[in-house]
């Protein structure tokens, strides 16, 4: 096991050729399956993208290696393996733009960083505008992005028509398209590969990734967390970081935090049968809610709103399916002949202001990374990077100083949408 960084020769064209000659029978496992030790300096609860990225950066940036990631299922089996894979930093509020722009910069070198191809494709993210006022709003947001170091360009109607040939551009459409905004550096990535890449990178730096290990409780001493109870036995720890998305409330309740500014809601997403190249960017509808792109396999990947009421069902209801289908057809009328291949529902930790929480908690040695709503995928690198910094140093990095858990009681919510307290925001 290397302690000097991931083995950069492990995956390369040469290793591929070498293993081809031996019939691909001698590849090493992508990550080990160690038995849990009795003690770790830091335990991360949740082996999704954020948890794995946190462990990776703890080892890589802070030289901490006595670290475990505990996952109740298997790596890539949660929301990390079920999302619409969109990466962007097109926010307006400074706290958000700066954080997500840092994330986008990490995305741009992630495949090289991890020696694992995460298939990050900067195909651009286009937001459609259907009224001149909406286009003005995009100009304002684009300017805010430029001021915070992100990229943005305003597109007129003709340019939208040129870039997205399938769109209904007719003036008598129900919501005629007048223009839009593009973030050219945005795009998509292969979600599974991100999970596997971070797991691989963390493992090679000495992190123990322990699957089928559910945290059932916390060990407390003098009102401080000093370990966890799991389905694979008790493990003591110096610090515990929780990054479990939809079940944040349930896990934190085990530590005695009964109430959080979070509700769990269900988001559905859809994949069509594979078709020839049709959409070579990411497009979002501005008169309803729909985001769509085409995967490398040719399937159209799209989604819309959350179901709208608290849910842990992991399966969706019909009204949202109808709404998403109607939005998709309004934008791209030619989708009407395409069949759905599959669709799924995942549980989102919807925060009360639509902004994530990366923070210390009222309980010492217990840290929280959650409230990602349904925008957590694009944040994966920066979320892990910042959470690792918080866990290693005990102080929040400047990028997340506003993402505190107590911002709600202090009156410092970060309400990107500007609609007040409700757990239904992006």
């Amino acid at each position: 096991m290397s302690t000097h960084g991931p083995n950069m020769s492990e995956y390369s064209v040469f290793s591929l050729l070498k293993h081809t000659l031996s019939g691909h029978k001698n590849w090493k496992e992508t990550w080990r399956s160690p038995a849990p030790k009795s003690h770790y300096d830091i335990i991360i609860v949740g082996g999704g993208g954020h948890g794995l990225a946190t462990a990776y950066y703890l080892a890589k940036e802070h030289n901490l290696t006595n670290i475990a990631v505990l996952e109740k299922g298997w790596i890539g089996g949660g929301n990390m393996g079920r999302n619409t894979t969109i990466v962007r930093s097109n926010y307006m509020l400074e706290a958000n733009t700066r954080f997500y722009e840092h994330s986008l910069k990490l995305w741009e070198s992630l495949s090289q960083e991890l020696n694992y191809n995460v298939m990050f494709s900067q195909r651009g993210v286009i937001n459609l505008a259907h009224t001149p006022a909406q286009l003005d709003g995009f100009a304002r947001r684009g300017n805010a992005m430029l001021l915070n170091g992100a990229d943005a360009e305003l597109l007129d109607r003709d340019e939208i028509a040129r870039r997205c040939p399938g769109l209904d551009m007719s003036p008598d459409a129900r919501f005629p398209i007048v223009g839009g905004m593009c973030q050219p550096r945005g795009g998509t990535a292969r979600h599974d590969a991100v999970a596997w890449g971070y797991a691989h990178g963390a493992d090679r730096l000495g992190v123990d990734i322990i699957e089928n290990c559910e945290v059932t409780g916390f060990q407390m001493k003098d009102a401080q967390v000093c370990g966890v109870e799991t389905t694979r036995g008790a493990i003591t720890a110096g610090k515990v970081g929780v990054a479990v998305a939809g079940h944040t409330s349930q896990v934190m309740q085990k530590a005695g935090l009964e109430r959080l500014p979070i509700e769990s809601h269900l988001l559905q997403a859809f994949v069509s049968e594979p078709v020839k190249p049709l959409i070579d960017t990411v497009v979002t509808f501005g008169a309803g809610h729909l985001y769509i792109s085409q995967s490398n396999k040719g399937g159209l990947v799209f989604g819309g709103d959350i179901d709208g009421y608290n849910s842990f069902a992991q399966r969706g209801n019909m009204p949202v399916i109808e709404d998403v289908a109607a939005c998709a057809m309004t934008m791209f009328p030619n989708l009407g002949k395409i069949r759905l291949l599959r669709h799924w529902g995942g549980i989102m930790d919807m925060s009360m202001d639509g902004t994530p929480i990366i923070s210390e908690t009222p309980i010492q040695n217990l840290y929280l990374n959650g409230g990602w709503c349904y925008g957590g995928f694009k944040a994966t690198p920066a979320s892990g990077w910042c959470f690792a910094h918080l866990l290693a140093t005990g102080t929040p990095h400047d990028l997340i100083k506003d993402f505190t858990l107590n911002r709600f009681e202090r009156g410092y919510t970060i309400d990107e949408k500007g609609v007040g307290a409700q757990p239904r925001l992006h």
């Binding site: 979070i262 069902a313 009360m352």
Partner: protein, 87 residues
């Protein structure tokens, strides 16, 4: 999912608007304690299982309802009117 409205009978939930957790109580207008407002506006128990919640029969009788629903199975155990204290 269907909700049995006390006035209109069993109707598809798309006729209703979800209004959130019915266990949080709004403090009195004159309440000065900010912690109580924080509790009411932001903090939620978010149960996995039995959940007491408000629904509004927007495209029906327009009555506000208290629905007891399981957040895992969507099984609805009771529907009562908010008017009259949910009895």
């Amino acid at each position: 999912m269907k909700i049995e409205c006390p006035f209109c009978g069993k109707r598809d939930h798309s006729e209703f608007t979800y209004k959130g957790d019915a266990t949080v109580a709004r403090p009195d207008h004159s309440e000065q304690d900010l912690d109580r407002w924080n509790d009411y506006v932001f903090q939620r128990t978010n149960p996995k299982g039995a959940h007491k919640e408000y629904w509004h029969h927007t495209n029906g009788c327009r009555k506000f309802l208290i629905v007891e629903r399981d957040t895992i199975s969507h099984k609805i155990n009771s529907v009562t009117l908010v008017q009259g204290g949910g009895k």
